[in-house]
Symmetry: C2
Subunit: 315 residues, 2 copies
């Protein structure tokens, strides 16, 4: 029913998850220009960068400069990934609106990605909470590999519920469940989202999808139907996790927005503006990007007919 | 619920819809070898070629040789597209199991694609039915541009229901609704499939999807949930209609089968065999193909963990 569906929130992650694994460094000025264009596209939540060690992810070494350079449009939440206490201090200094903490559901992936056990991650989150306490920063926690780990396979739902509980006990206010390596399927999605929301009605829950096996949009609409109202996505469908083999491609922002709009589900964003920004990505990055709508146009696109009826009568 | 879901049928169209628009001619022997491999992959319905004018689609000029050369595996239906009476005579001579007739829902697309009005198409179908009467050939009719026409936009559902009625009155036994240019969305899909099956319970209905705007798999699972049990798809996600601008890429067979299997929906096909065939397509065609699972592997894929826990204790 177009017009009657509940709105979704799009959390644009191209500047962080999109750029972190790019072969080349995207110039700071280009990042700032991109962020400013996104701020004017109706996007209301924007992951600007990660306060990770510049050695670990050199592409995001300019996190502070980017935060300093961007326009802060009222109504937009400017967020950053924060992997440790040092990162939290930098985020505080840069006046981020929201920090995003990350732990993997799978112990082995957490070890590979964060060099910590899950228990060590949770202990560190506790320290981070103390660092930012009272600063008015919203705290979101991501559960990476929620739908499957590249090293351990599918994780039990009970393990996810346990991790959600740990996050909430620490005072984390919003939770992102992440299909880090793009293994989720629509049935698993329905079950996962329903189960979490049944245990935690009203939870500020976000879904982070990768399109690795082309199930991104199928998972998104299945999640919406199970109650999900907030989605991470990256312009052009770029991105990937350096520690998750085969994890190429976040779900593509403009393809996701296009599907929602076609389904009559409002996103509050300007699809034409988003597509225009995305169409500039190949020149910026020096390579093609996976997005579909940026190439094919919207479903409403009309072409001139090459053949005209000329005196033909029905047989 | 894995194991309890109703099985779907996969109708492999790579040899027809996949190859018709390729820049190069695929050698007849390669087509025969591909058909024979597909016949042993659990595929039960295989569109082998089109008895179209060799001038219109030179890539399929060897339809008769391909039919003569392939192994006829019991239990597999070997089908062909038939655009006119001459094509029906050739199909009869080649002992096809099923013919596929095509008319577009949009008058302008039918004119561009078939050089006929819809009324002329229906009159011709009537002649074709007389040519093949008594030969024991199953007749399927495709409704192209069911979900939207590149020249006229979205078509009214009543127009689709009218066309279904016309087909059934002519004695056409199965009907394929085709998203020829990849514009359908999951909500539209649910409504369309439900409406048709409510008017015609038990109808042998097939869905033909293109992945032009990345909604192919989302549409497939929405259609399944609305009662669809038969799906066209092309290995590697290749294909496109020469008269439908932007209609690149059928929904990819192995990606579709992978999603269904992950969702616990049986297809009767061997995903590993299908993926192996698909992985040979780039060498055969001389270019990359859009499929995802052929590159990423299945969701169950497990990698060795690059980091091992060494004396780390929970903090």
């Amino acid at each position: 029913m177009p017009g009657t569906a509940e709105q979704v929130e799009i959390n644009e992650v191209v500047l962080r998850d999109g750029f972190q694994n790019e072969p080349g460094f995207v110039a700071t000025d280009d990042k700032i220009r991109l962020a400013d264009r996104l701020s004017r596209s109706g996007i209301r939540r924007l992951e600007v960068s990660s306060f990770v060690s510049p050695k670990a992810i050199p592409n995001l070494r300019d996190a502070a400069e980017v935060f300093d350079g961007i326009e802060r449009v009222p109504g937009v939440r400017y967020t950053a990934l924060v992997p440790n206490v040092r990162g939290a201090e930098r985020a505080l200094h840069c006046r981020v609106d929201e920090v995003n903490l990350v732990m993997s559901i799978g112990e082995q992936h957490n070890l590979a990605n964060m060099r910590m056990t899950c228990a060590q991650s949770l202990a560190q989150f506790s320290e981070i909470m103390q660092v930012i306490a009272g600063a008015g920063i919203f705290v979101n926690g991501t559960l990476a590999t929620t739908f499957g780990c590249p090293f351990e396979g599918r994780q039990p739902v009970d393990r996810v519920l346990w991790a959600v509980d740990q996050y909430l006990k620490l005072g984390i206010e919003g939770i992102t469940i992440a299909d880090t390596i793009g293994v989720a399927n629509p049935r698993q999605m329905t079950a996962m989202v329903s189960t979490i929301l049944r245990h935690h009605p009203g939870l500020a829950l976000t879904l982070h999808l990768h399109n690795t096996r082309d199930m991104g949009l199928a998972n998104a609409i299945a999640a919406y139907d199970a109650g999900m109202r907030s989605f991470d996505s990256a312009l052009g469908g770029i991105g990937g996790c350096p520690y998750a083999p085969g994890a190429t491609g976040n779900v593509c922002t403009e393809d996701l927005v296009h599907m929602f709009h076609q389904c009559g589900i409002p996103t509050g964003t300007d699809l034409e503006a988003l597509t225009a920004i995305s169409q500039d990505l190949p020149a910026l990055l020096g390579h093609a990007v996976p997005g579909f709508v940026m190439k094919a146009g919207t479903s409403d696109r009309i072409y001139p007919c090459p053949v005209q009826p000329q005196g033909q009568s029905p047989a």
